[in-house]
Structure formats: structure tokens, C-alpha cells
Symmetry: D2
Subunit: 422 residues, 4 copies
Amino acid sequence: MATSTTSIASDVKGFELADLGKKRIEWANQSMKVLQIIRKEFIKNQPLKGIRVSACLHVTAETANLMIALRDGGADVALCASNPLSTQDDVAASLVRDYNIPVFAIKGEDNDSYYSHIMAALDHKPQITMDDGADLVGVLHTKRKTELADVLGGTEETTTGVIRLKAMAADGALRFPVVAVNEAQTKHLFDNRYGTGQSTLDGILRATNLLLAGRAVVVLGYGSAGRGVAQRAKGAGAAVIVCEVDAVRALEARMEGFEVMSALAAAPLGEIFITVTGAPDVLRREHFELMRDGAVLANAGHFDVEISLTDLAAIASGPPREALPLVDEYDVDGHRVHVVAKGRVVNLAAAAGHPASVMDLSFAAQALAVASIASAGGERAPGVHAVAAAVDQEVALLKLASLGIEIDVLSDAQERYLRPFR
Amino acid sequence: MATSTTSIASDVKGFELADLGKKRIEWANQSMKVLQIIRKEFIKNQPLKGIRVSACLHVTAETANLMIALRDGGADVALCASNPLSTQDDVAASLVRDYNIPVFAIKGEDNDSYYSHIMAALDHKPQITMDDGADLVGVLHTKRKTELADVLGGTEETTTGVIRLKAMAADGALRFPVVAVNEAQTKHLFDNRYGTGQSTLDGILRATNLLLAGRAVVVLGYGSAGRGVAQRAKGAGAAVIVCEVDAVRALEARMEGFEVMSALAAAPLGEIFITVTGAPDVLRREHFELMRDGAVLANAGHFDVEISLTDLAAIASGPPREALPLVDEYDVDGHRVHVVAKGRVVNLAAAAGHPASVMDLSFAAQALAVASIASAGGERAPGVHAVAAAVDQEVALLKLASLGIEIDVLSDAQERYLRPFR
Amino acid sequence: MATSTTSIASDVKGFELADLGKKRIEWANQSMKVLQIIRKEFIKNQPLKGIRVSACLHVTAETANLMIALRDGGADVALCASNPLSTQDDVAASLVRDYNIPVFAIKGEDNDSYYSHIMAALDHKPQITMDDGADLVGVLHTKRKTELADVLGGTEETTTGVIRLKAMAADGALRFPVVAVNEAQTKHLFDNRYGTGQSTLDGILRATNLLLAGRAVVVLGYGSAGRGVAQRAKGAGAAVIVCEVDAVRALEARMEGFEVMSALAAAPLGEIFITVTGAPDVLRREHFELMRDGAVLANAGHFDVEISLTDLAAIASGPPREALPLVDEYDVDGHRVHVVAKGRVVNLAAAAGHPASVMDLSFAAQALAVASIASAGGERAPGVHAVAAAVDQEVALLKLASLGIEIDVLSDAQERYLRPFR
Amino acid sequence: MATSTTSIASDVKGFELADLGKKRIEWANQSMKVLQIIRKEFIKNQPLKGIRVSACLHVTAETANLMIALRDGGADVALCASNPLSTQDDVAASLVRDYNIPVFAIKGEDNDSYYSHIMAALDHKPQITMDDGADLVGVLHTKRKTELADVLGGTEETTTGVIRLKAMAADGALRFPVVAVNEAQTKHLFDNRYGTGQSTLDGILRATNLLLAGRAVVVLGYGSAGRGVAQRAKGAGAAVIVCEVDAVRALEARMEGFEVMSALAAAPLGEIFITVTGAPDVLRREHFELMRDGAVLANAGHFDVEISLTDLAAIASGPPREALPLVDEYDVDGHRVHVVAKGRVVNLAAAAGHPASVMDLSFAAQALAVASIASAGGERAPGVHAVAAAVDQEVALLKLASLGIEIDVLSDAQERYLRPFR
């Protein structure tokens, strides 16, 4: 742990990294043009004046720009990591040193540190929570129930978190309103599909340097993130096989020209396997046993549960060998099985996460959601709330404008035609 | 009008065409494997025993198979056309001669015949209506109000119709329940995207024989049908420009690598323009005036309102010349503007409509929707009703099975994980 | 046979078709902008003044424009068909009636008529021959040897023909120079890849109306035409399998993401099979026996030898049934095998052949090759001659200009750099 | 410079890196299955027994496996770098420490070191040279002419080198035979297209983490490498613009659906520019001045001459700022221009170069070419020699087999048909 040269509380790896972190924050900022506009409005109108916000998000250059925007809108912000392997230590250091934002996150931290950092973020006594996987909400509702009363609301960034929150809400357990930013069109259509699509393959390439052209790539899961991965793998020349439990999605995959089959049928055919389902044990003993020598496995889902390392350890002839810095090699009955980044989310563990221009969209929606919670002042009912369609249109229009793109507007006559019986 | 050799009422072009029609019905049947299965169940269980059904649908080989399935399920069916140009006269003849189903439809019929055929279908005193554009429902609610009482419910096949129905429902005007088959995932994801995508380009090629590779194709509208057209045009090597009024959709189009701009900016760049918006006057005077010599215009939307022929006639130097059997050439200030099939829906007017295997999905959902209306027996409330998600899964699973594709099923542990707080 | 209303010799189907033929010739002309420019030069400079030209080409609207350009350059032209099924009878009629060009071609003519038409074209005593499959050259070197002396040279349009000619040249049998237009880059890169790619699928769709999305399409042959077909099938959403005997090409196909396997392995997997190899019996008994019920077979190669109808007839339970006008259905051990257009080249037999804008490139090269033969005046040695690279550049530049595209030119310094040791 | 712990001559960065280097060599070996087979034959037959080989190649894990195969075939090998920025220091260290192969290469070496390392490789007194850019050949023909007599022949890996060698040969200056491995189909079709395509984008992503989807990417040069880059950028969702001086290639690009225009027209439209032409000053003052704020420039060509840093320095308001470790930012009239890796070949300077499985093809051809030179024993004439077509077929077949792919073989009857006049 570094000794901070500032007076603010923090736990980051080392301030000697902060120079690089600052460069990366500024570089990301260039591509976050919608957030730039929102930040300017925040500076002017101070919609978060004095509000305490605790965020449990991937600590990346893009998140840094979101934190800075909230801070500039008047918020008192604290940040911890939503994944032990995704923290960019240089960014964390710069956020503390250069932007006076408390950060509790060190890449590779163990489970204890991970939870102590969540506790540190909650010690900030948040009025608004921001989650990427519902960990702050989860801990607040179990170990820190007394603090629930202060919370006006929260936001949730990812599918996995929304599933948890909806389950809580269905059970009547969720005690404050949470805006499901994940379900904003500008989030899930873009971030999941284009962000995950590119950055997942980017992570695999950085870790393995494999050629994708002509390679058999199995994508397990064909939700919005999975189809992004499948589309990009096809665009890179791979022969893509899709496995999916939902029949409609499976049929969609087929209509896009993908091979579609069960994971068991795909196991002996694939050279690279990418899980992106949200479910545990998607790849397990029965699949490992059938794989070709040299198969490479990576996970693009939120949690590191999709590839069963337990099963792999149980059937391997010994402990894994480090084949490359981010690749573990297991010997299974004489054939090698390679796991990238220990099955953790590969675009963050082996690459730089979603590109800034796509995070711009969901973080613009995040910033507007935080502002809406602040302005609602606790009047919204507990439960999972959608982002308004108008917010989606606004964010998208700002993004298009930043790309120099102008679109048509319906005439009054056209509007009327589309509602003919009114 | 042909003299029927059968005793049933009908108005079709001529029974000398029926041999070819029968072949086409049988050919389509081969690709409609889900409907085949449903038909077998219908034959066994007679869920429509004695129910009168009037259908106003495109009279094609695929529709013929749907009619036959309903008939075999016990229904008393009558059919008219939902578009004056889409009728396949040979299919209509065979339906009457070989399958004893009353049909009132002749390709190219004028407006009066079109409506008299709708009236003939309503003279059948339907208990269930089936629409593709809400014309039966529209006429029932205006000119035949006295017959509304008999109607148990209806189905609607297309986006345009659902928009009309929702407007009616919003105004409290809709008097019986209508199942929006269009909104079934197995309908709108597949039929709109893959059916319209392929058949629209097919229609344009049959009419014009133009090379798509390297050609500037402007797609106006990026809904589910528009993105199908854009994707297929790109797959055919065209340089595709997308115009769209919804900002989120416009941004999606850009993220797929398309050029995105306003129609006015696209007008001087495009070589082929395809409207697929649902709105009127999408291409109009201001666009025509800017187009290159030889521009080709086609409409893939339901109604022939998207390209303003009124404007074109107003600015052309004279009446249009027939450049090819399905192509009218207007002279606008010395440059030629070509309109395919007079702006009517091009995949039906110039090609054979959606391929049977994609219609299989929506017509499977149609058949199940009709059965559900019959079994509900009038207990469902007036309004627009969704197709149940389970129906979607069933239809998709049957389709996958017909393709020889098996998919995974979630284990109990995985199901539990995805609902962690239960 | 029609009685000509003109005084010129001809054998065409009927002049009542000529009006439509004229429209189609004019429509094609719009897309043949390079040929338009060459024709203008020909009119001015008369490079073919008094030269007799016999052409054995597909009798289509595009060929008509080539013939007209040669005629306008001073040539005395006669035309017969290079394939009995590819003749557009309306175009043939218009060429005779409206353009005074002798044509001997009727769609569907039998073998005797086919060869008598070739003889009629040779009765024209050509000084220059134009072939698409080397039939004129073949007959001249076997049955009409005495006329060889008059021939200054010839042109050959297709791969199959060039293979025959090179074999003749290798044996010392070829008696005059032939320009292999097929090997011009502007021919084989564009016509084979983009022309065949689009028009082959177009032909299959017109004949069968099948959905390509999600369908298993087997492309046999991955030469320049085969890869065009494979690329377009992929672009249409098909799951494409490639079969190829050349290892380098097979590897290329794999690197593009296609499944690659032997024809025997593909036989039970495919739903549509397309041969495009130039070789005979590519699909034969051993493959037919393994195919799924309903398999559809089409040929995109020059001759109707790639699908063995002999084998199919031998193993079928009876004669084929006409499933659709252009589709024959064979019953093979209880499963149906469908052959499109009796295995003849499907883009001509079931669609309108290559689009005009791609034929523009090879026919521009044809016109320039004919002019070069005329100007060489018999000084060129017998054998197969290449089209000069400068001709390719000129044709391509004219085409780009017609598309409104300007490209860069190397500076002198860049030219020097690329030849550093000079 | 590291002190070697072995007795062999070398100049590498440090042996503490060798452990990682060994892992990367072994990892690459897994994907180099054709080279593995050749190596086994080499071990058995010792075709290079006692032959001195000097290689000037990118010092990467793949090259290491080629060197090891040659060594195992009996050769006495020395290696230096063909590009000062492409050396993988860990691989270099392992080659010396673990494989006893002399290496002279340090990443980032200055020009003097670069040439002194070439001299060290030539001090090895090669009988066979291996080049990637013709530097060994160049120096031998200028500064070390006395040693030319010993040389049996050489190999050349890249387009740029072949251009230099052909110019030398045309001038009668080339004094020994060089096998142009670059022109082997298995090299240029695969390495240039698929290797460069993937690794160039990989390098840009590692350096910048930009999202490619929806971004305007300008690819300058549409040779085999350029089209690989353009294809992959399109596959990643970019809107790709192609600039090309050859009209036929430009037209091909257009037929693939790319926007095609001059570099000057593209300058204000692009967000990322990638040069891959082989020519100098492809991007220069006139282009920089028109670019958007934030434009990113990278070079995928062999030499760092394609982006004129001289012009950029001349018009920038000051020296470049390091925006990110591999990105320099120039201020040009108030807009930022970013240059990746100082314009050096980006796939090596910012990523790990071509993936091993594609290098497997060209390095298999390299190994076979070296063996053929050794067996020819100086009897081949000076000049640039092609790789035999049979070698291409053999390499491709081995590669297909390693992928588990079997292909068809022509029957005798088919062979005869394809040569009908024999």
C-alpha cells in the first residue's frame, strides 16, 4: 500500500504510477464527448451539491472521468473496485493525487482486501450508491442495514447486478430505488455489444497473440454481450460456433449464419471458448474432457464462475503451469487446456476494458441517473427503475452530434400519420 | 374474373393457373416445418371446429399453407388480399380449386375491387379476423359495426397494423382483443429482419438486374425491417447509407459501420434508395431534385406512401415512361428518376415475398394465436395483446429441431444462481 | 422461328418480343458507362471499318451493347449463342429489328440448332472471332479448317475457354492469336467474383424463393467465381461450407472463416449445393445418396457437366417431377433431390446473367481487344495473349470516374523510392 | 548490454528476461504445426549440416522457432534484427541462453547499433542470408563485397525487400540467387492479409484503446496487406475509407463496399489513418492540415517513411507531447494529431507482430527455401527466384491437416477433362 501524499483517505498501489494514470484519464476524456457536455452543465448547475456518493465500479480511466464529472457537479465521491483484477493502479493513484477523490482499490487484491475496500467506500456514508454487480447494495442490505436509511437511491451498471436487484425487489427486500442503467438502450445496446465485443477479443489477443482468422471460436451465450463477441470474432475471420439456452436467441444466432449447437457438441470442435452467459459452470468437467489439445478458455461474463476451475483442478494431472503471464495451462489426460486470466472477466483482466467512447454512453446515462436521484430526493419508490426513453434519445443525439452526424426529424404530418386514429 | 369450377364463392384470376399454384403451395410447405407440426396437431385435436375465420393477408403460397392448417383444424376460412399487388393468382386459384377455400383476390385489382373483396371476406361473418395492416378491423369498426358483436378476436401480422390498433385501443375504440403477432419475437426478429432483408433486395434485382457490389444504397428507416435491408445490402457489397429519425437507432447504425446522415444529405449520393419507415413522404420533392441521373427508388414499407409519387409527377417534365416492365422513369430537370413497382412494397410486387421458411415462424405464431382466441372464447378483454413468451420459445425450439439443432438446457443449479436472492 | 421483317439473315424467336428487348438493351446501356465512352471513340475513329466479326456469346442485353459498339466502330457483326439456355429472346429480336445485327439464337434450342447457329455465325466468314467457351475456335479448328486463313485473331471471355485454348496452344494446334480477356484483371476480378457472386444467388432465389439466412450452403470450387458465390452467400446470412481441390485456395477459404471439407463430408450437411469448378461430375452418385431430404443443387460453372444428371437418373426411383418451373425433383431412396435449371449455368438460366455494370468492364476490355486485333492486322503470333496491364488501368480508371471517384497519383519522388536502386 | 552467461557471441538486453522468452517461444511453437513437421524432418536428414546462415529478421518468438528448426537441421545460425523496434528482448535472451543461437538485437537500438548488429551477423560469414527488407543483401553488395563469393543464396521475406532485389536484379547488380519467399502464395496471401490485418489493428488498440465500431478508419494502400487491414477494420465495425493509386485495386476496394477517394479528400473525414503502401510521405503536410482534432495515425508498412514526421514537426506548434506511452501528440494549428509508435510498423512496435500460426506458413516456406539453396549448392543463377508451386501446395496441405481439414482430389477423368485437347 502506498503512503498517500495527500490528506484524503485512500488505498492505492503507488503514487509513482500517477503520471501515467493522468495521461490515460485525459486520453479517455477525449473520446467521452457526451460526458464532457454533461460535466460542463454539472459545473454550472451543481446538481449534486453536497451529496455523498459511493461508487463500486471498475477503476478505469473512463470511470475516473465519471467520478470527476460527479465531483464537479458538487458530489462528495468515494470509489472502490467492483472486481479485484480490473483496477488500473495508475488511474487510481492519479484520481487520489491529482483529483482529490478517495479511492480504495489495488489490482490483484485478495478477497479480504476487496471487501474491506467496499467497507471503506461505505464508511463514506453514501446517500447515493453506484454499483457494477450490486455489491454495495448487497452489503448494505446484509451487513450494514443500519445505514440504509440515509440512502436516496442507487444506480446499477451491469446485467448481473440488475438480475440480483430484481430478485431482491421481487422478494420485497430492496429498500431503496435503483436505476438500472444497464437497461438503458444507450447502455446495453452499445456497451454490451460493441464494448464487450471488441474488448473481449482484445484481451484474448493481448494474452495469447493467437490468430483469429480461420480459428474455431465457441461463444457461449448469445445475449447482447455474447452477440457482440460473436460478431467481432466473425469479423476477425473466425469460424464461430454459438451455444445458447434460449431458443429464440439460438435461432437468431443461426439466422446470422453461425453454427449453433450444445456446449457438449462444441467442446471437441473449438479452439477458443468464450463464456458470456452470467451463469456458473458453463464449461465444466464434461466439456474439458472432450477438448482438443491446446484449447484456450476465456470468460467475458461479470463473475469468474462461468469456467469451473474447481472441475479443472480436479481432473488435471497437477497444478497449472504458467504458459504465459496471463495463461494457465492444465494437463487433462495428456491434452492441454489453457485458461486466460484465471477465468476472470478477460476484457478488464487482460486488456483495458471497454473503450472510452462506448463507456461515454453508459456513463453519461449514469451521471444523469445520479442527478435524477439527487433531484428526486428520496421520493421515488424502492425497486428497480428504468432510465427514461428521453434520456436515451438525448444521450444518443449528443453522441451523434459529437460524430458530426445530423439526422432527420419527423414532420408534423408524418407524426400524425403514424397515429392515424387520433 | 374466372368462372369457378367449384361451388364455393370466390373471385380469382383464372383456374388455368391452379396447377402452378399447387406446385408453389407444396414447395412452400417443404420449408414450413413448424407449421407442418402444428397442422398435424390441429388435424388431431380440431381446436377451430366450426369457427368462421376471415383473413386479409398477402395471398401467397405461404399464406395458403396457413389457411390449409386452419381449415384442417376445423375452421371455416375465407381469404382476401391485404395488398392489391401482392396476390399470387396461381396460388389463389389453387386454394379455391384444390383446397376448397374461398379466396377474393386478383393481382393488380383496383381500389374498388380491393374493398369489395374485403367486404366479401367480411360477408363470411368472421368470429376471428386475421389482418396484415388492420384493414378488416378498420372496416369492421367503421362500415360494419353491427357485426362486431360476433367477433371473438383477431390477429395482426404487421407493424403498421399494430400501430393503427394501438392508436385505436388508446382511444378506447378497439372493440375486441387482437393478438399482435407482429410483436412476437419469432415474428419481428425473423420475418422483419431476415424476410424483408432478403426479399426486398430480391425484388429490386428482379426488377432492375442492377449490381449491388460497390453501389451506393440508401436505406431510409433502421427499424427491424430496415436493418435487415441494410445488413443484406452490405452483405451484397453495397456501400450503405442509413437515414433514421430515432437517435438511438441512428447511433446503432453508425456502430455497425454504416454511413448515417439525413435524407437530404443522402439524396445526391445514393444510386438506390429503399424506404422502410412506415411514414409517408419520406422521399419527396426536395430529395428528388438533388438525385443523380438514373437513381432507382423502391419501397419496402407496408403502404405505397413512402415515396411521394405526387411530388414526382408534379416536378417531372411529363408522364413516366416504362423503362422496364416494373420500372417507371420520370424526367426531373434532365435527370432520370426510376421508381420500382410504383412505390408499392417491392418484395411482394417484384418478387415472391418473404421466403417460406421465415413465414413459417410468424404463421406458426398466427396459427397458435388463432387457436388461443378460439379457446379463450371471448373472455379476453378488448385491446392489443402480446404473444406469450412461451409460444415464442416453442416455435423457436420446433424450428431449431427442424434444422437439426439441439441446444443446452440450464441446470437447476444454474437456474438458482441466476435468481440468487430467492 | 420468326420470319424476319428485315432483310438481314437471322434466326430468333419472334419480333413481337423486340419492344421489350429494346428497353432492356437501353436499360443495360445506362450501367455500361465505360463501353459508352469507348463507343463514342469508335464512332469517331472507325477502328473496325469493314472488319467481319463473328461472336459466340451469351445473347443478353449487355452483349447487345457490345455488338452495337463494335458495329458503330465499323465492324460487320454476326452473333450466335454460347449457351442454349442463356439467350434473351427479346434482346435477340431487337438486335435484328432495331439494330440490323444478324443474330442466330433461340432460348432452349436443341443441340442441333445450337451447332447450326454456330455454323451460321461462321458463314459470316469472320476475320475476328469472339468466344465465351471457345466454341467458334473449336469448330474452326476441326470442321472449318479452310477458313482459318482469314482469321486475324479472336477473343475469349471465360476461364473454361482459356483452359481449352491454352491446351490447344500447348499442343501447337492453335492457329491464330486469341486475346484472353478472361485474364484481364478487370474481367476476372470483377465479372467472376462480383458478377457470378450476385447473379448465381439471384438465379437460385428466382427459381426457388428459399431463405438464405441460416441455411447451410455448400460452394464447390473456390476460384475467383466460387469465392464470389461464397462471399455473397455469407453476406446473405448463410452458413457456408467450401469444397476445393487446391490446397492453397482451401486454406484461403478457411482463413475467411468458412467451413472447409471434402464434398463427401459436406453432402449430408448441405441444404443448397452450388458447383463452380469447371470440372465434370463434381456432384455424383456418392454425394446424392448422402444428401438430406429436399437438398437443392445448382450449377454456376460454364457447362452443365458439374452435377451428374446421369448418376441422378440412374439412382432415382423414376423420372424427375417438375416441382417448380425451373426445379426438377428426383426421388432418391425416399429423399428428394432438387436440381435447378437442369444443371445449366444458373445465373443465366434462371436470372438475367451478370449485371450490366460488371459486364461493362469485361466488354470494355473485349471492345479494346477487338480493336487491337484489327490494328495488329495479323502480325501477332498464334497463341493465347494477355490483355495489357495498361488496358486494365484505363478501363478501371474510366469506371471509377463514372462512379465519381478520384484516386491519388504517385509523385515522382514516390515512384523513385519504389525503385530505389535505379 | 547484458553479460552473457554463455560462451557464444551475442548482444541482447538481459538474460533475466530469458525465462519469459522461453515461454513465449514454446507458446508460439504450439501454433507452428507445419514448421514442427519440417523440423522433425530436418533433425532426421540434416539438410543444412555445417551451413552458415545469417538472418536479419524481426526477432520474435516465431522467428526463434524458425532459427531453432534451421539449427536442428544442422545449420550454424546467427540472427540480427530487421527493425530496431520489433525485437522481443526476452526472446532474444532465451535464444542465446537456452538454444545457443547468437543474437544481436536490442529493442529500441539506435541506428549505429542497428548497423553494427547487421555487421556482427555478417561477421558470421554466411553462406546463406535471410532478409526481411534486404538489408543483409544490401550491405553485402555495398560494404562487404569481398564476402559475396561465399554466399550460395538468400531468402527475402517481405514485399519491400523483393522490390529492392528486383531493382538490383534488373540493373544486373544482384550477385547471388535470392528466393522471394514473399511471393509464395502461402506467404503473401496469408501473412500479408491475415497476419497484417489482425496485428495492425491489435497494435493500434493496445496503444490507444480506441473503439473501432462506428469510427472512420482510412486505410492508405490496398495491396494484399492493405486489404487485410481494411477487411478487419470493417469486421470490427469501422466505416472504412480506402485510398489507393492503382486503379484496378481502387475499383476492387469499391466493389467490396468501401468508400474510395484520394487521401486529400479523406484527410478531413478520418479518425484513424493507417498507411500500408511501401511508399514515402503518403501522409504529409497537406493532409495533416486538414485533419480533425484528435486524429490518430499509424503505419503498417515496413519502413517508417509513410507518415512524414518531418512535415509534422515543421508545422507543429512545438515538440510532440507523450499522450500515452506509444502515442505522440502534435499540435497543428490548434488541432491534435496523434502518431502511434513514431510511425514505425505498428504491429511489431505496439503488438506482438504476426500471430504464430500465420508465420508458420511463411516460415515453413523459409525453411524449405533455405534447404533448397543448400541442396542447389550454388548452381542456381543470380537473381530473384520464385518459390515452387509444389512447395505452396505442400505447406498448405500440411496446414490444413493440422487443422483437421481434408480436401478432395481430382479424379483422373476430371484431370483429363480440364485438359480436353491433350
